[in-house]
Subunit: 264 residues, 2 copies
C-alpha cells in the first residue's frame, strides 16, 4: 500500500450479485502552507512530493519569485504542514498577502483582467514546434504512467515533456496541485520549463493556463476540454492550447503554428 | 448561443485531415462574492444561476445560516459581482472571516479535524432507503439532462432527487459550484434537502461530502471515485456514499443499509 492510496471495504452491486470487496481509493490529505510564519492556505492533496507542491503553489500564486528567495523549507508530512521561509521582510509583505488572499480566495479563483495577475504576465515567446505524431507519442507515454488513476479513478496527472519524452511526472487528487508539483520540482531541481510542453489529464481553465504561462511554457496538451477564459488567456499570453487528444484526433485551439502539419 | 457556452474556431487534426471548425466551449466567468461590503472570494464559474451560486457558497462555507439572515442580494452579471447583505454587525464578524479565509484559503481547502467545521457538524439522521433500480433510474435521468457536458466536455452537473425523480438540476465548470448552486436554489426556494439524494458528476472529496452533510442530505451518488477523506467524513457524518455508478454496477462505500438489496 503506497502513500497515494488506501484500502476501503465496499459493497459492490453488480449483475453478478452483491459482495463486499476491498477497494483502493485515492488518499486525500490536508497540507497547510505557512510562509514566513503566516498561515496562507490549506490544500487538500495527495500526500506525495509535498515540498514540490508547497514551492510550486507559492510560485504559481506569485508569492515566490525564484529558488534563490527560499531560505528554508520544512515539511511535516504527518501533521500536513509545509513551512517556507524567505529573506523578505515580513511586515512589508503582510498587507499584500492579505489583500491577495481576500480577492483570490476560494477555488483558487483570481479576478483576472481586473488585477495585476494577467497584466503583469509577459507573453510566452518560444519557437517550439511539435508534430502531431510527437504529441500522440507523448500522450501515450503520459497515460501509461498514470498508474494511480487506473487503480483508483480519482487522481489527476501532469507532466513536463520535451518533444520526445516525459521529463517530469506528477499525480494528485487535484489538477491544480498536480501542475504545482511539476512547477516546484522543476524550479527546485533546476529543470528548464521554457520551450517545453505541459501535459495534463484535467480541463484547461484560466488558472491552469496562468500557471503554465508563469513558467514560460509555450504549449499545454490535454485529453480534456478547455474553458472560454482558458482559451482567452492562451490567445493573449502566446500559449498553444491543444485539447481533446483522443485516439488519433486532437483540437488545436490557439497559436496552432507550433503544431507542424503532416497531413495526418 | 446560450450563456453557458461560447464558440471558438479550432484547428481539428484527425485521420481525415486538418480542418478549421467552429467548436463550442464552456464559458468561464469570474464571480466575486461580497458579503456586507467585504470582498470574500472570486469564484470562476459558469455564468448561470449566479444568485443561487453566491447564496449556496455562503451557506456551504458556513458564512450564512439560513434564508432569514439575508437582507438583500444584488447580482451584476456583466461585472461578475454578487453582493449579499445580512443583518449582522460587520465589525464583529470581520475578524472571524479574516481568520477563516486565511486558513481555508485556496482550492477551497478547509483544515478539517483541526478546526470547527467537522466537529460542529451534526451526523445526518435519516431513514431514507433506496433500491439499486431506483438509483440506476435517477442516474440515467441525470445523465440525460447533462446537455452541456455532451456539447463541450467541460462542465460538471449536480442534482437533488427524491427516490423517483430529479427535483433540482445544475451545471457548472466547477464540481463545487454545481453543488453550491443546488444548495442556494433549495434554500432560497424552500425545497427540502433532508431525506433526499444528491447526484454529482464529479469526484467525492472531503469538501463535497461536507457540503452534503451541511444540508442534512443522507446520500450522495456519483459515477466517479471518492477520496479517502471523503469516505472518512461519510462514515463519521452518517452519509451513504455511492460511487462508480457505471452500467448496472455501483460501489456502496458507507452506510450501505440505505441501499435496499434486490439481488440484482
Amino acid at each position: 500500500m503506497d502513500k497515494e492510496t488506501e484500502e476501503f471495504s465496499v459493497l459492490r452491486l453488480s449483475e453478478r450479485g452483491n459482495t463486499y470487496v476491498e477497494d483502493v481509493v485515492a488518499r486525500e490529505w490536508p497540507l497547510t502552507i505557512v510562509l514566513n510564519n503566516r498561515e496562507l492556505a490549506t490544500l487538500l492533496c495527495s500526500p506525495t512530493n509535498l515540498t514540490y507542491l508547497a514551492i510550486g503553489f507559492l510560485l504559481s500564486e506569485g508569492l515566490l519569485k525564484s529558488k534563490d528567495d527560499i531560505k528554508r523549507i520544512t515539511v511535516d508530512e504527518q501533521r500536513g504542514v509545509a513551512r517556507v521561509e524567505t529573506g523578505e521582510d515580513e511586515d512589508s509583505e503582510g498587507e499584500v498577502l492579505f489583500r491577495r488572499f481576500i480577492t483570490s480566495g476560494c477555488g483558487r479563483g483570481v479576478s483576472f483582467y481586473n488585477v495585476t495577475d494577467v497584466q503583469d504576465q509577459a507573453k510566452v515567446e518560444s519557437s517550439l514546434e511539435v508534430s502531431k505524431p510527437e504529441i500522440l507519442t507523448l500522450v501515450r507515454e503520459f497515460q501509461h504512467r498514470s498508474q494511480t488513476y487506473r487503480t483508483t479513478g480519482g487522481v489527476h496527472s501532469a507532466a513536463l515533456c520535451d518533444t520526445s519524452e516525459v521529463l517530469v511526472f506528477s499525480e494528485d487528487i487535484g489538477r491544480h496541485n498536480a501542475i504545482d508539483k511539476i512547477v516546484g520540482e522543476c524550479v527546485l531541481n533546476g529543470i528548464a520549463t521554457a520551450d517545453r510542453i505541459l501535459l495534463t489529464s484535467g480541463r484547461i481553465s484560466s488558472e491552469i493556463l496562468l500557471k503554465v504561462a508563469r513558467r514560460n511554457i509555450p504549449m499545454i496538451v490535454s485529453k480534456s476540454a478547455p474553458t472560454s477564459l482558458g482559451l482567452k488567456l492562451a490567445v493573449d499570453l502566446g500559449v498553444t492550447l491543444v485539447g481533446f487528444v483522443r485516439g488519433r484526433r486532437m483540437n488545436v485551439y490557439t497559436h496552432d503554428w507550433r503544431v507542424s502539419r503532416d497531413g495526418h
